[in-house]
């Protein structure tokens, strides 16, 4: 079976082709066209600009993805229908609907967050499992009974972890996106500033990053930010605090819910420090740790294709609509 997937929920235009036979999954092609250099100038994704870029990129990306494949070989079209920016989602969704109509192929709406988790499903997962999903818009812990039954057990009560990285980068004048820059700076720094670990001791699996960001703001106001030492040390202190909270809460959930596997997904899962510490702490408890390779952590259509190979619900193109608020329950 061949699945064509399309993903345009934020600022990456992406298409991928997956082939599955007898339970074996192979990504045949995966094309991602990023708009990051355009949005960099604005300090974040600009909806109107993103929509225009998606419209311009979607056909070349699809063409490149399907270079060696004929339309009639495709068995299913999958598309990210939410959550995300409505102006971005709609480009991918309408393109997928048009292909479904023209090729007379079934269509499937895939949840973007489920797609992030599914990037881990290339390996056989031992259930039950918990998955930490960390990105610019989300920070949540999902408990999975199996590939298809899952429930959200914890989440941020304010900012997402990735957003905290972006905001810290902004107040230290480091540019956008914040994750890679802060992480790079942090690797050269000494975590000498004392920052809070919000909600660490609370008896739930929720997070809070707003207070951590504000603590960085207040301490940074007292520092000479022209001195690189101060900046790298603040980045290191912030990253250490964020990684500690994410790790401790995820491990706590894994223990309490008797998970056999701990997984991680989303753009912030590309953070090296977080990968290293969460892996170490998970393995200490005798559990298996899974994290997708870097290219499958940030937004991409391959993860949507993998998700579609596990999901069952195909639909008629007339019934599928972009839903910017489609949250995992």
């Amino acid at each position: 079976m061949k699945i064509l997937a399309i993903e345009t929920s934020c600022d990456e235009t992406s298409a991928a082709l997956l082939e599955s036979s007898r339970g074996k999954i192979k990504i045949v092609s995966s094309i991602v066209s990023s708009q990051i250099n355009i949005h960099k100038n604005f300090g974040g994704v600009v909806p109107e600009v993103a929509a225009r870029c998606h419209s311009e990129n979607i056909l070349p990306v699809l063409q490149e993805c399907l270079k060696k494949t004929k339309p009639k070989e495709v068995d299913l079209i999958a598309v990210t229908a939410g959550p995300g920016l409505i102006t971005s989602l709609i480009v991918g969704v309408e393109a997928a609907k048009a292909l479904s109509f023209a090729w007379k192929k079934p269509l499937m709406a895939v949840n973007h967050m489920y797609g992030h988790m599914a990037a881990n499903f290339l390996e056989k997962v031992q259930f039950p499992a918990v998955c930490l999903i960390v990105s610019g818009g989300h920070t949540e812990i999902i408990f999975l009974k199996n590939y298809l039954q899952f429930v959200k057990v914890g989440q941020t009560v304010d900012d997402a972890a990735g957003e905290a990285f972006d905001k810290v980068a902004k107040l230290l004048n480091l540019g956008y996106p914040g994750g890679p820059i802060v992480s790079k700076m942090a690797s050269a720094g000494n975590p000498r500033f004392s920052l809070p670990r919000p909600m660490l001791k609370e008896d739930n699996f929720n997070f809070s990053f707003s207070g951590l960001k504000t603590a960085v703001l207040y301490q940074a106001q007292k520092l000479d930010l022209k001195k690189e030492k101060n900046v790298v040390d603040m980045c290191a202190s912030f990253e250490e605090a964020a990684v500690e909270v994410l790790t401790v809460k995820t491990i706590k959930a894994a223990r309490k819910l008797k998970a056999k596997t701990v997984m991680m997904a989303g753009g912030v899962a590309a953070n090296r420090k977080l990968r290293e510490i969460l892996k170490k702490e998970t393995e200490k408890t005798g559990r298996k740790f899974l994290v997708p390779e870097f290219s499958l952590c940030t937004d991409n259509a391959a993860m949507i294709a993998i998700a579609a190979s596990f999901l069952k619900k195909k639909s008629d193109w007339k019934k599928i609509q972009a839903d910017p608020n489609w949250e995992l329950k």
Partner: protein, 138 residues
């Protein structure tokens, strides 16, 4: 009005919500950490929203179901209201089923409806916040 803690801000916002009828646009103006988010969380509770209110900075707008529905907009990283129009935010502005909250509203003055409620937040001390409310237009 002076509020002395985040808890007080939330409680006051809950009460404020009970006076809303739907179709209102609340423009929140104030620095980082001045209580805008605490206000929005309290307001959501008062409107009967059951979900946790999380930051809409990344997607710019989140919509929540309640007795009156809540539209939560964050204009933090915008420089004009054009993008709010693009994502359809202004469609909610006079809809009687929705109450709209715009954080960092001073960044998107061009989409302010004539009839709106301005709320200014100011940091007066470690936990103390001053809040000023003004109803604009009739």
């Amino acid at each position: 009005m002076i509020l002395k803690s985040e808890k007080q801000t939330r409680a006051w916002a809950r009460k404020f919500a009970s006076g809303l009828k739907g179709g209102e646009v609340l423009c929140l103006v104030g620095d980082l950490g001045s209580g805008k988010t605490a206000f929005t969380k309290g307001l959501a509770q008062g409107l009967g929203v059951k979900q946790i209110i999380t930051s809409p900075t990344f997607v710019l707008m989140k919509v929540y179901e309640g007795n009156l529905n809540l539209v939560h907009i964050d204009a933090y990283r915008l420089s004009s209201g054009e993008d709010l129009k693009a994502i359809g935010a202004s469609d909610y502005f006079s809809d009687p089923n929705y109450v709209t909250v715009i954080e960092w509203a001073d960044k998107v003055k061009d989409v302010w409806p004539k009839k709106r409620i301005m709320i200014w937040f100011e940091v007066k001390g470690k936990n103390q916040r001053e809040i000023i409310i003004k109803q604009i237009g009739k």
